[in-house]
């Protein structure tokens, strides 16, 4: 076999592959074109029929049984579920139920291949939110495919199937970072029902080396917003050695802490780590007790920009805080002046001051603020 023969064979192979790919391309495009057109029409029709069903619930608008296998119908249902709420959701659920959609999707989820259809089934079940599918979803929380696991958790969260909370929490440790974050998000949907399981989880895992699950859990508590966990989180803050845990706890306390959280937050406001100080400023402001105004006013002079900024923004949102800000405009510290000025501008105090000046009703503070602002404004 000499070089020429090899060359000829190589050329032949390449050209044959080319022809195959070319024909494949043309075929795919033709098929896709037809599919896309047909899909659009079917979907529009489904949307129209479903709209009629929702608008006049009593009357009968039959939907073809084949819709149960039709992706266009599924998309139409999901789309409508995201637009309407209330009784309409039940009507949609009834229609979906009548077509046996949930059972079909369950069967697809249980099959072993192909990935695309299984994933599609998981997403559909998550969106449809039919309680009878909860068992299958819990089963597949340990599916081999991470995206399917996530969609199952999501579905359980949407239907607030409490029995699944522990199963989901169990997985927090076992998952990779990105999956864990998504799992944690699904817990938010459960709302207050997830609160105490989360607290239990945090207590158990807090002293482990790997705290990432705990951080997510704390974040979720903050998002859920159940005030009863305030004392627990305050306790966590006292013993937390990992700064990431501390930061998450500080953030969550800003939401659920209430007045009891002020003490621990005052302590972290004096931390040597600027992130803790900055977050504490925001959280203290979120709690909303004006007794911390003097503390935040001192934060305006902090060495770190974020701390100053958060302190200023916090003061702007608290009753009586504006006075502290306006006083800070006369301070010696240029950074404090700037932080205060920005906060005042952002919250509209600047605009009101201008209006008052134009009406001839400017107060002393207004003049101070305006002269500061116009101090270095270029033409």
């Amino acid at each position: 076999m000499n070089g020429t023969t090899i060359g000829v064979i190589a050329v032949a192979v390449v050209l044959i592959v080319d022809v195959v790919l070319l024909l494949g391309l043309v075929a795919m495009k033709t098929v896709n074109r037809r599919r896309a057109q047909s899909y659009k029409l079917r979907r529009a029709e489904y949307v129209a029929t479903l709209s009629r069903c929702l608008a006049s619930p009593g009357s009968n608008h039959p939907i073809d049984g084949r819709a149960a296998d039709d992706d266009a119908f599924l998309d139409a249902v999901i789309d409508m579920r995201n637009i309407v709420t209330g009784h309409e959701i039940e009507t949609l659920a009834g229609i979906v139920d009548g077509l046996g959609l949930a059972r079909r999707q369950e069967a697809r989820l249980r099959s072993r291949f192909p990935l695309g259809r299984r994933l599609r089934a998981a997403v559909s079940l998550a969106e449809i939110g039919d309680e009878t599918t909860a068992t299958v979803l819990i089963e597949h929380l340990s599916d081999r495919e991470p995206e399917i696991r996530i969609q199952c958790a999501r579905g359980l969260g949407r239907m607030q199937h409490t029995a699944a909370i522990d199963a989901i929490l169990e997985r927090l440790d076992l998952e990779e970072a990105w999956v864990r974050a998504r799992f944690a998000q699904t817990l938010v949907r459960f709302g207050a029902k997830a609160t105490w399981p989360l607290v239990a989880y945090i207590r158990v895992n807090l002293r482990h080396h790997d705290n990432e699950g705990v951080v997510e859990a704390i974040r979720v508590l903050g998002l859920i917003g159940d005030r009863e966990v305030g004392p627990t989180l305050a306790g966590v803050l006292r013993v937390a050695s990992d700064p990431e845990v501390a930061i998450a706890t500080i953030e969550a306390l800003g939401v659920v802490g209430g007045p009891l959280a002020i003490r621990p937050l005052k302590a972290t406001f004096r931390s040597t780590d600027w992130r803790l100080r900055a977050k504490s400023a925001t959280s203290l402001a979120n709690i909303g007790d004006p007794s911390i105004n003097p503390l935040l006013a001192r934060g305006l002079e902090d060495a770190n920009w974020w701390v100053r900024r958060n302190s200023a923004a916090g003061l702007a949102s608290l009753p009586g805080g504006n006075e502290a800000l306006v006083r800070a405009i006369g301070s010696d510290d240029p950074f404090a002046r700037d932080a205060a000025a920005e906060a005042l501008a952002d919250c509209g105090a600047l605009a009101s001051a201008r209006e008052r000046e134009e009406a001839g009703l400017a107060t002393a503070e207004d003049s101070l603020l305006l002269s500061h602002m116009s101090g270095q404004v270029l033409a």
């Binding site: 709209s51 929702l54 608008a55 637009i83 309407v84 309409e88």
Partner: protein, 122 residues
């Protein structure tokens, strides 16, 4: 009652438009649609609508901008803002611009119809 009320529905989502048109037509209103901000603005100027249901996030012009422009042209059209966007800027802005109502997405159809009825009576 009176003559048939004319409503303009402006939203870039086909699904939302279909749902609204179906529900409103069943109530006996005459409904027209617009698929983007500019179309909404133009139709609002020349058409005689008793009520407009306006989405915020539309291509061309945002819902709030449409209302502002109508006002600049001296047109006062009864408008209900319908939006999935929930931030202060949009909600407060809607009322400041002169919208008579603000409905969040997702919405309840009976509630929307009740509000439409209410606004049309005013």
């Amino acid at each position: 009652m009176g003559e048939i009320k004319r409503v303009l529905v402006a939203d870039d989502s086909d699904t939302v438009t279909t749902v609204l048109v179906t529900a409103l037509e069943l109530e006996g209103y005459e409904v027209e649609t617009a698929g983007n901000g500019i179309e909404a603005y133009e139709k609002g100027l020349i058409g005689e609508y008793d009520l407009v249901i306006l989405d915020q996030l539309m291509p061309g012009l945002l819902g709030l901008e449409v209302i502002d422009r109508w006002r600049e042209e001296g047109r006062q059209i009864s408008t209900i803002m319908l939006s999935g966007v929930d931030d202060d800027r949009t909600v407060v802005g809607s009322f400041e611009s002169g919208a008579v109502d603000f409905i969040r997405k997702p919405f309840r159809i009976p509630e929307l119809l009740a509000r439409v009825r209410q606004r049309l009576q005013e």
